[in-house]
Symmetry: C2
Subunit: 191 residues, 2 copies
């Protein structure tokens, strides 16, 4: 079974014809690690679904510090939502962390799909709602937990993903410097 159709099937049921139509609108591409699919300042043309590998989205402030918004491995969606929906230059980079096979949906094709398969409107509504809930939780975690607690929570939530990420990226995701992350880790191991 095609992963992206499985993903859609979690929330809405497409007929075989609809599935065919959907597949005719998407592209599948492979990317090597470190490839940048979207640069800050560009207008996002695509939303991405990951078949294999890992992607990340991040912003850079003062041309120095990277801050990771999101990771996406197998079965996850990723993109610069702001730029994609507003069709204005965004602040996010989308980059490959681990060699990846990615499904691309263009804004244009997605709008066609909304009209041709109204069920997809529901699907992407549910997707947005779930993502919103996750971001709200993460926001509250950042407001209320220490770096150590945020790290432990992340480990419990995505144990297998953590092991595939360089720790500077984990540090960036939970909002601390790589140096502090290293010290924190040493402290945790002593327990």
């Amino acid at each position: 079974m095609i992963p992206i159709l499985e993903n859609i099937a979690k929330y809405v049921t497409l007929t075989p014809e609809e599935q065919e139509l959907f597949l005719s609108k998407i592209e599948i591409r492979k990317y090597k690690s470190k490839t940048v699919l979207l640069h800050a300042g560009e207008i996002a043309t695509y939303t991405y679904f990951v078949n294999s590998g890992i992607l990340r989205s991040f912003s850079i402030n003062d041309n120095i510090m990277e801050h990771i918004l999101h990771f996406a491995c197998e079965g996850w969606w990723i993109g610069d939502m702001y730029s994609y929906i507003a069709q204005k230059p965004g602040n996010l980079f989308i980059e490959v962390i681990e060699d990846a096979e990615v499904v691309l949906i263009s804004k244009e094709k997605q709008n066609q799909l909304y009209l041709e398969i109204p069920k997809l409107e529901r699907f992407f509504r549910i997707l947005s709602e779930n993502s919103l809930v996750a971001h709200q939780e993460r926001l509250l975690d950042n407001l209320s937990l220490t770096a150590e607690e945020r790290f432990e929570k992340l480990c419990k939530k995505y144990p297998s993903l953590i092991q595939r990420l360089p720790q500077k990226h984990i540090a960036s995701y939970i909002g601390i410097t790589p140096e502090f992350f290293s010290k924190m880790k040493a402290r945790l191991l002593k327990k």
Copy 2:
């Protein structure tokens, strides 16, 4: 014009009949300041749209510290999205900050509306997407900016709302203690 219909009209066009149907599914209630519309631990039955006044959503950790997720004044939506979509006990409180008139939509009625007026599926998709973008930006702000910068950004973004909020709530929203907020404010005034 009825505010909530105006809000919907921003993104989708309802026929007069659809508007009537929509209005038949909602409730309008008035609440005094400090009323709690939803307690943590309860299952959220409603999503709220604010006609007048101000509401806030927040969580409490360790039974001590409050952390504000969201404010909503005239024309804004608010609720415990997690609890509402999962229909499980949530972690958020929804409370009135300033005497308010609120439109309530129940989960049940909303599901009916999705079937009766598919355009609303689109409307709430767009609403979720916009909210997601706002939360992503706030998350990145919390990762990359100092409390002072977050405060200045908030002031620029919602100048009129700020003036209606007690500063302990602003402090909580940007993720600092009321004491530190007070000191920070004194520092900013000296400039």
